[in-house]
Amino acid sequence: MITRIRLENLSKTYFKGETNEVTAINNVTSEIKESDFAVITGPSGSGKTTLLSLIGLLTKPTKGKIFFDGEEVSRYSDAWQTKIRKEKIGIVFQQYNLLPQFSAWENVSLPLLCHDVPKEERRKIALEYMKKLGLEERKDFKVAYLSGGEQQRIAIARALVVDPKIILADEPTASVDLETAYSILRVLEKLEKEQRTLIISTHDPSIISKATVSIDLRNGTVTKVERFSP
């Protein structure tokens, strides 16, 4: 299997040189293959979100390298990293980060705006993904009127709409009830079958049980990497 993401001695220190300096990620080296379902586990404050931000090219590492498909993307300019993020990465944030003044389908279609897709086409693609996630009937609802689970699925649909190779999700089931968590899990399982690289930070044992790779973080350092057969 091809290595999709490689992290080499990756470190991230916030407030470097100041009295409140924090090393969130310390010398992490790891590999994630093409169709891996990777979970990043660890207690709160262990650096899971920072590691996802680094992989998602949302934050620059203080030290170390990030490779996507063999290309060292961490040395790229911010503009090029944005381009890579636009084309290759879908991100599901813990707090959804949806735009409340827009309808569900408009939120889902937002990434397509950056790809210059015409409005009608945007709507068509957005509805297609919403249908896949069982949200078709909610298409014209303002997202503020949707339940937590529905908002999370909208966020997942938004991450998928440009067909990214890599999907990052930051504790996607943390703020939803058990039933919604299961429905999200089913969506994630489907994604795994579509040969995408899934990287999820989570505490949820039901998600962890589905993973092919588990990376355990403690105080920003990888303490254990386990690979399971699918």
Binding site: K16, K60, P61, T62, K63, R75, Y76, S77, D78, A79
Partner: protein
């Protein structure tokens, strides 16, 4: 001051360009001086600042380039408002101390602006911003000229008044001509025309050859430089009297007004002359790493192609004009 829509536009745009240009100088200096010694975190901050600086400089240069045709169009519209003026010559002489140097700036500075923008394009096509330091340094070096350009435009617009001026024919057409009537037994005008076409064709051919052979580049730049005086002399001494059918009239502004396609000829000639010098800029400043070297080379090829085509089309326009003039 003669207030017209064009004057107001030039004042407004020049003012905006000057303010914006001043506003980013400090950041550009900070990036230029700080990049090499900065650590990763600091470089990230400088890179973020660079994007804003880059956008502002692109806007400023875009404004300055947009003003060039607006400036000439506006001056042409002022001809009826200046007593005695029959063409742009009269308008230029209503404020000669500012307007003649400004004419020179209007041809020189766009070459530098285009050079910066082309380098910026090379940089944005690269994945690692390899030209960031060169671009900011270049901007810092050019910014006094940028401010001068805006200031001269503002002062020109504010100080141009409807004073009485002499007509072009009473100034240009008097006195001995710069080209002798007979040169080596050949009519001076024909001699000059032959030189003009020789240099034009040489510039076009050498520019096309530069796409394949690097060693021809300086030869092409020499032809581009030689083209400037030859062009000025040919326009005043040959093209104006021949195309306008006025054997004793030599004002190039009258030619540009009476035969508007010669404006296209002049613009293309500017591209033909500027592109070889812009290639020098890209060659010296645009080759920071392997990736930028590849993109710079492609860009340089496009510039040589532009120069060659511009020279060819410009020459063709003159051939058509002369043919029509003699039919």
């Amino acid at each position: 001051m003669i207030m017209t829509f064009g004057t107001a536009m030039i004042l407004l745009l020049s003012g905006c360009a000057a303010v914006l240009a001043l506003g980013v100088i400090d950041t550009a200096v900070r990036i230029f001086r700080g990049w090499r010694t900065a650590d990763e975190e600091k470089r990230y901050d400088l890179e973020k600042s660079f994007y804003l600086t880059y956008s502002v400089v692109c806007i400023v240069l875009g404004i300055r380039l947009f003003i060039v045709p607006v400036y000439f169009w506006n001056l042409q519209s002022l001809v009826p408002m200046i007593p005695g003026a029959m063409c742009l010559w009269g308008v230029f002489n209503a404020l000669p101390t500012l307007m003649w140097p400004n004419l020179f700036l209007k041809f020189l500075l766009p070459t530098i602006y285009m050079g910066w923008l082309i380098l910026a394009k090379i940089n944005s096509d690269c994945k690692t911003n390899p030209l960031m330091v060169s671009l900011t340094g270049f901007y810092v070096a050019v910014s006094p000229l940028l401010l001068l350009d805006s200031t001269v435009d503002i002062l020109t617009s504010l100080n141009l008044s409807p004073v009485e001026v002499s007509c072009c024919s009473s100034a240009i057409d008097v006195g001995p001509r710069p080209i002798p009537i007979i040169i080596g037994g050949v009519d001076g005008q024909i001699f000059l025309t032959a030189i003009f076409f020789t240099v034009s064709v040489a510039l076009a051919i050498s520019a096309f050859l530069c796409m394949k052979y690097d060693r021809v580049e300086w030869i092409s730049r020499i032809f581009a430089s030689a083209y400037i005086p030859v062009l000025i002399l040919t326009m005043t001494e040959v093209l104006t009297p021949w195309i306008l059918h006025l054997p004793l009239h030599h004002c190039p502004f009258c030619l540009l007004f009476q035969a508007p396609s010669t404006v296209i000829f002049l613009a293309l000639s500017w591209f033909a002359i500027s592109s070889p010098w812009i290639t020098l800029l890209t060659e010296k400043l645009g080759r920071a790493d392997e990736e930028s070297k590849v993109i710079e080379k492609k860009t340089r090829m496009s510039l040589w192609l532009t120069s060659g085509f511009a020279a060819t089309i410009a020459t063709s326009i003159i051939v058509v004009h002369l043919a029509l003039a003699f039919i």
